[in-house]
């Protein structure tokens, strides 16, 4: 333990994760929530891609009822299934928050569970508002961004409750380069969020397509720089290398899907009288891989924070006496 009044060392901070025992059911439950949340993101993308956002015109009820299942046709099947999966995820998140609060000894993990619950509630309210206000682009885009934020939190909880995080002593290597790897990962998360918002605004008719397309090369450069730095400088640290490889692979996939989505929706589908299969498939895949990319980047940032501490330059004060003019 760090002595009172003394700043704990990095090693001590990292070892703090040892303060809770590995809880396999808790971890599996967190992984389950992350997986179902991914399905929820796909369901949400299907709603938007099928232009079905307002097929159920009321909220929080569906056609006036809280429990009756409506006829499963047309846009209703997308919108109502999205609502049902969302309610299920909300319920699971309540269980996770309570479970974490009771079972996990780490104080910050208890609050992370509460933050997940707060995020899922905010997300539900945003989903309701976007229906009640007829899909305003700002609210719909916020709904998209907060949804992916919740997915990242769910993935982070799954990581923090995993056996490796809890039981292993982290392998570390000092970062002496500038900009630091942690700065690059945080910058990657930032440009991805900007890209997510630009894409969501385009999808929800609040903005043209070109800001999203113009930002794509910036995202590609920042993420490639980050991934290459992580893979080349810290290739021996598996916890850093693996998410970096995943991030790079997802980035390449995402760029291809973005091109496909642009071609099917903007170039070919601008006069479409209804959403077509190719544009639905490409845009839903683009959203899904985008969410995975953001989560992989967040995981990379967490692992870099844990395994690659920043080397601080110490200022050496001169002890030589200054020459004094006579």
């Amino acid at each position: 333990m760090a002595a009172r009044g003394r700043k704990p060392s990095f090693e001590e901070l990292a070892l703090k994760s040892l303060s809770t025992p590995y809880n396999a059911p808790h971890h599996r439950f967190a992984v389950l929530i992350a997986c179902i949340t991914f399905c929820l993101l796909v369901a949400g993308a299907l709603v938007t891609s099928n232009d079905a956002g307002l097929s159920v015109p009321d909220w929080p009820t569906s056609f006036g009822s809280l429990y009756k299942i409506p006829r499963w046709v047309g846009g209703v099947r997308y919108e109502h299934s999205h609502r049902m999966v969302a309610e299920f995820v909300g319920f699971l998140t309540i269980v996770l928050a309570v479970w974490t609060w009771r079972a996990d000894k780490r104080r910050w993990m208890k609050w992370l569970g509460v933050a997940a619950l707060g995020t899922v509630i905010a997300q539900g309210v945003l989903g309701g508002l976007t229906v009640l206000f007829y899909l305003p682009p700002a609210i719909s885009s916020a709904h998209a961004a907060v949804g992916q934020t919740f997915f990242c939190i769910a993935c982070a909880i799954a990581l923090f409750t995993g056996r490796r995080w809890v039981e292993e002593v982290p392998q570390t290597a000092m970062d002496t380069q500038r900009p630091t790897l942690i700065t690059l990962t945080l910058l990657s998360i930032f440009v991805l969020y900007v890209q997510l918002l630009l894409g969501a605004m385009f999808r929800h008719h609040g903005m043209s397509w070109w800001p999203h397309v113009l930002n794509a090369p910036i995202v590609a450069i920042v993420l490639t720089w980050t991934a290459i730095r992580a893979m080349t400088q810290y290739s021996k640290i598996e916890a850093v290398r693996r998410p970096a490889i995943l991030m790079l692979g997802l980035l390449i996939t995402q760029l291809c899907l973005g091109f496909l989505a642009f071609t099917t929706r903007v170039a070919w589908g601008k006069d479409a009288v209804q959403p077509e299969a190719a544009m639905i498939a490409s845009t839903v895949a683009h959203v899904a891989v985008g969410a995975l990319l953001l989560a992989a980047t967040v995981i990379l940032a967490i692992q870099v924070w844990r395994h690659v501490p920043v080397a601080r330059e110490e200022k050496v004060t001169s002890t030589e006496p200054k020459a004094v003019a006579a």
């Binding site: 097929s55 159920v56 046709v73 047309g74 209703v76 910058l187 903005m207």
Partner: protein, 253 residues
């Protein structure tokens, strides 16, 4: 260092906000509603009324009607061709024609304009209604629909309607041209309501023909609006009892 970080993160965010603001301003300006409101119109002398009629032509090769896939609802059966551009022998249907300028405002008539949902399509595809006039939307399909009016000048609304349910009764408070009404359950279902301040309007029939009768003598701007190809305006002067012809053409895009 902190300033650099602040700039790195805040400048793109600021840019995003500016882009969003510019775009929302643009979306308001995009509304084709012209200055349709004005002083109340003078009483019309039936002995002097004139009329204008004509044909809307389509120059060039007509686009093939796109087939609609209605498979997501087994209850939807019927004509499955898109009505975005409907051309018959070089004549353009579903063009809204109205007196854009030269008249005051008129009180709304008591009768309702009826829109029917049948075969998972709106009938008619393009309709005119006066400000304050009742609009009855019926559902003759064996499936439910939601009726979503996406007004820019008028309030949006979205209501579900069960099969054979009572008509949805609505009216609009402001003039607005090509106000879309759509069904989000059946995404191909879309029609346009044109809300005008006077009763002098028409929609071209299958042969591209229209007639606006009962106009008092005067100078007018007649506007032709097609949902995809936009608006064309024509000036016309009508004397007492005139019967003038006004033909226009839309070129293939």
């Amino acid at each position: 260092m902190r300033l650099k970080l602040l700039l790195t993160f805040c400048v793109p965010l600021l840019g995003f906000c500016v882009l969003t603001a510019c775009n929302s301003q643009k979306s308001i300006d995009q509304s084709p509603t012209a200055a349709l409101s004005g002083p109340p119109a003078a009483p019309i002398d039936p002995a002097t009324v004139a009329s204008v009629s004509g044909t809307v032509h389509f120059d060039g090769t007509a686009p093939e009607a796109v087939p609609i896939d209605m498979s997501n609802d087994p209850a939807c059966k019927g004509d499955n061709k898109a009505e975005t551009v409907v051309v018959n022998g070089g004549k353009l249907a579903n063009v809204f024609v109205y007196v854009k300028d030269g008249l005051g405002t008129f009180p709304a008539p008591a009768n309702a304009v009826v829109i029917d949902q049948t075969g998972c399509r709106y009938r008619p595809h393009v309709a005119g209604v006066m400000v304050g006039q009742k609009l009855d939307i019926r559902n003759d399909d064996p499936t439910e629909h939601n009726v979503h009016a996406i007004g820019m000048q008028n309030a949006q609304w979205n209501e579900s309607q069960m099969p054979k349910a009572a008509p949805i009764e609505k009216s609009f408070d402001h003039p607005e041209i090509m106000l879309p009404i759509k069904c989000n359950q059946h995404p191909w279902m879309k029609m346009y309501v044109n809300v005008v301040a006077n009763p002098f309007y028409a929609v071209t029939d299958a042969n591209g023909k229209f007639e606006i009768a009962g106009l008092p003598p005067g100078d007018y701007t007649i506007a032709f609006v097609q949902e995809k190809m936009g608006e064309q305006d024509q000036k016309i002067t009508l004397g007492a009892k005139d019967k003038k012809t006004l033909d226009i053409s839309y070129k293939a895009q």
